[in-house]
């Protein structure tokens, strides 16, 4: 610590150069922070605090195929299944195709048994929902987005389901509004609109008696894999084989289909850091080169090789460390902004942690070569070169 003033003074020896180098490091770590958080979010889809005990059963062939409603009784009988509910993809939008509404037909009792603890809904609104056949519960963000109010009648267009009269527009009465208990789930649920499965199944003119998929809650999350296998064994070799997996794995598999996002992000980061390595390395080399006489004086005064090495590496660490802290700090501040741009993706600051490791690595790579050069310095030559 006693060398800190010396370190600080040498770091700012050439102010402009240090500031510009620092700013490039800040920019690189800002990018690192942003891209790593996005990558982390895509590779760790959050199922909420209680997500580990949720399973999802889809048609093995593809989720675009339905499953018979009758399966629900058999799934219920599997030991370890605490609750099961059934849902269907509605493909909804409000007025225009770009206004996506995640309209989800739910069987009220079983849905809220599976998701016993996920939603915050006022009691009277929940009662109103149960008592209104055409009722719907909108997420508070959705309500706000389209300026809906409780009591409004709103049309939701389905791209799939025709009603008996051939119409694709379904009308609902908004009777309540809900929020997610876990705030990290808020963005994932921002477009959710819940309505009655019964009304949906009676209203559609084809596909009756089939459901899109099942969702289960298991009694013991440690048994998820065993329960999944038991469910799939029930329907093996039937016309509609199933594929049951934890909700998280399902989300991961879906994200994988988007392509290798991780590869793209890491390739970009590779380019950023290769560039940065070059830039910072050049600055450090230059800075040591200019200080050769000073380093020679230090050596003459009796500074050991270890100390000289330490001083140069510490300078590099200080520079990279400051850049990393500021850059990662900035990306942390920017997180809410990207969260809005990437709807449904939950960003956690956990993605920032590896940044500090990268900073140390970078500091060592750019600091050690000039440090070694400083150590190998011949005092006489270096002092002589000054004149």
């Amino acid at each position: 610590m006693k060398f800190f003033p010396l370190l600080w003074a040498t770091l700012w020896r050439k102010k402009t150069r240090t500031i510009f180098t620092l700013l490039s490091i800040v920019v690189a770590f800002l990018l690192f922070g942003l891209l790593e958080t996005v990558d982390y979010a895509f590779s760790h889809p959050s199922g909420g605090a209680s997500g580990a005990d949720r399973l999802i059963t889809i048609n093995k062939y593809s989720i675009t195929f339905s499953l018979p409603y009758a399966d629900v009784q058999e799934i219920k009988s599997v030991p370890g299944v605490a609750a099961v509910t059934w849902l269907s993809w509605f493909g909804g939008y409000y007025q225009e195709a770009k206004n996506f509404v995640f309209a989800l037909p739910i069987d009220t009792d079983s849905y809220f048994t599976v998701y016993n603890d996920d939603f915050v809904i006022a009691d009277d609104q929940m009662r109103a929902f149960r008592n209104t056949r055409t009722g719907g519960l909108a997420n508070s963000a959705l309500l706000k987005k389209y300026g809906w109010k409780i009591g409004d009648k709103i049309p939701v267009h389905s791209t799939i389901w025709t009603q008996k009269d051939g119409s694709l527009d379904w009308t609902f009465d908004i009777v309540g509004v809900f929020d997610t208990k876990d705030p990290s789930q808020a963005s994932a649920q921002a477009a959710t609109f819940l309505f009655h499965y019964e009304m949906f199944d009676e209203g559609r003119n084809f596909g009756k008696g089939n459901v899109g998929w099942f969702e289960e809650r298991v009694a013991d999350p440690a048994q998820s894999a065993a329960v999944s296998n038991k469910i799939d064994a029930l329907f093996a070799n039937s016309a509609n084989e199933t594929k049951t997996q934890p909700a998280k794995d399902f989300a991961l598999a879906f994200i994988k289909q988007l392509g290798d996002i991780g590869f793209v992000l890491h390739a970009i980061l590779g380019a950023v850091f290769f560039t940065l390595l070059f830039l910072t390395g050049n600055t450090m080399m230059q800075s040591v080169r200019e200080r050769i006489p000073e380093l020679a004086v230090l050596k003459t005064l009796g500074f050991g090789n270890g100390t000289i090495l330490g001083l140069v590496v510490a300078e590099s660490l200080l520079l990279c460390g400051m850049g990393a802290v500021i850059g990662l700090g900035l990306s942390y501040v920017a997180l809410p902004g990207i969260k809005n741009a990437l709807q449904g993706v939950d960003l956690s600051p956990a993605g920032l942690v590896p940044g500090f490791g990268v900073a140390v690595l970078l500091a060592l790579i750019v600091g050690i070569p000039p440090a070694v050069r400083a150590v190998r310095l011949n005092i006489i030559d270096a002092l002589a070169a000054q004149h």
Binding site: F20, V272, T275
Partner: protein
């Protein structure tokens, strides 16, 4: 003045090799920015090309009204009969219209690189397939036969997914299908698909009815009359679109996202590269302060000095831009990737580094270079002559 400018610039450039380290910071920094920018944008352009090429103005796609994409749509046999009798379709010698009734479904096939299942479109096509889509050519094997479980695979799909070569067996929904051939279709979206006889597909997935009907019109101008005939027919409730319009709508979102992501990331990187350029140019000016002061002392103006520094920065950044664009081109042009398209199935496309993208990259490079060179250039012109000379 031009004489002065030429002299100063020439002097600057001659000393470039001595400042190799600092100069290469500009080149490499800018090359990084341009390589990232061009590669990400090439992804968007490639995807757009694949979908934009999937259509002819004289070909129409008919879906159930309000369905948006084929996967959601449902047309009955009766609907198809009504559509087949509409005016404007190309007819063969027997008077049969060039209309292919199609059924789109999704099959799970593992990807070659990751081994994980991905959704691939299995398209059931009508007997008029080759009349409606003359661009389809088999590159290996033979055509599928109706009524048996046979299919042909698109060349793009064959590159990305496992087990799609002529003669191999694909297990789809409890049944074995034989891949009888591999086809190309001018690099359009159907090259990502599997094609089979429509009624065989329908019976395999236990579905009655179709997803869409694709028709070839006598001319692109016949579209309006054809569309009016169908949309005013009380027996039908359908959307009629020209094929290019249908596919353009599907590529809009992803292309836009990639453009925003690519530009944002490259813009942030560009700021970093600009600081690097500033650093290098400042040190370039500093090491030459004696020469510059000497020139000023013998009567050179400030403007040629400023411009000469800018020219140096510009040349270095141009070099960086070319290097970056070249890297993107060498590594990624034609690189085949796939993503989930609008129809909930994989679309295979190739990254396409176009001339426009290269020009965009080089323009970015020059802007970064100019910004990075400007302040050092001004400083160079303001070097106090007496002090600089005395310091030496």
């Amino acid at each position: 003045m031009f004489k002065q400018l030429a002299a100063v610039t020439w002097m600057n450039l001659q000393t470039l090799p001595q400042r190799f380290g600092a100069s290469s910071v500009i080149v490499i920094g800018i090359a990084g920015v341009v390589a990232v920018l061009v590669s990400v944008l090439a992804m968007g352009v490639g995807f757009q090309h694949t979908l934009a090429d999937s259509g002819r103005a004289d070909r129409v796609i008919i879906l159930r009204g309000g369905s948006d994409v084929e996967l959601n749509s449902n047309l009955t046999r009766e609907d198809i009969d009504v559509i087949a009798s509409a005016p404007g379709l190309v007819k063969d010698s027997l008077g049969k219209p060039a209309l292919s009734n199609e059924l789109v479904t999704v099959a799970n096939v593992p990807k070659i690189d990751t081994g994980t299942d991905a959704n691939v479109t299995l398209r059931g096509v009508g007997a008029k397939l080759l009349t409606v889509r003359p661009e389809i050519h088999l590159v290996s094997g033979r055509m599928f036969q109706p009524a048996v479980r046979e299919l042909i695979a698109g060349a793009g799909a064959a590159r990305q997914f496992r087990g799609l070569t002529a003669g191999s067996i694909l297990r789809l929904r409890n049944a074995d299908w034989t891949v009888t051939g591999v086809f190309t279709s001018d690099g359009d979206v159907h090259e990502s698909e599997l094609l089979a006889d429509v009624d065989t597909v329908a019976s395999a997935i236990e579905r009655t009815g179709y997803s869409s009907a694709i028709g070839l019109l006598e001319s692109a101008a016949a579209f309006d009359a054809f569309k009016d005939a169908l949309t005013t027919d009380p027996r039908l409730k359908v959307d009629v679109q020209r094929e290019p319009d249908y596919y353009a709508a599907q590529s809009k979102d992803l292309s836009k996202t990639l453009k925003v992501v690519g530009t944002t990331v490259a813009a942030i990187m560009a700021i970093g590269a600009m600081f690097g350029a500033l650093n290098s140019m400042y040190s370039a000016v500093a090491t030459r302060s004696l020469e510059i002061a000497t020139l000023r002392a013998i009567g050179f103006g400030g403007v040629p000095i400023v411009i000469s520094v800018l020219i140096e920065a510009l040349l270095l950044s141009l070099l960086g831009g070319l290097l970056g664009a070249a890297l993107a081109w060498v590594f990624f042009n034609g690189h085949s990737v796939s993503t989930l398209g609008g129809a909930f199935a994989q679309v295979v496309f190739k990254l396409t580094v176009t001339r426009t993208l290269i020009v965009t990259g080089i323009v970015w490079a020059c802007i970064i270079g100019l910004l990075g060179g400007f302040f050092p250039a001004v400083r160079a012109a303001r070097i106090p002559v007496a002090e600089a000379l005395r310091a030496a």
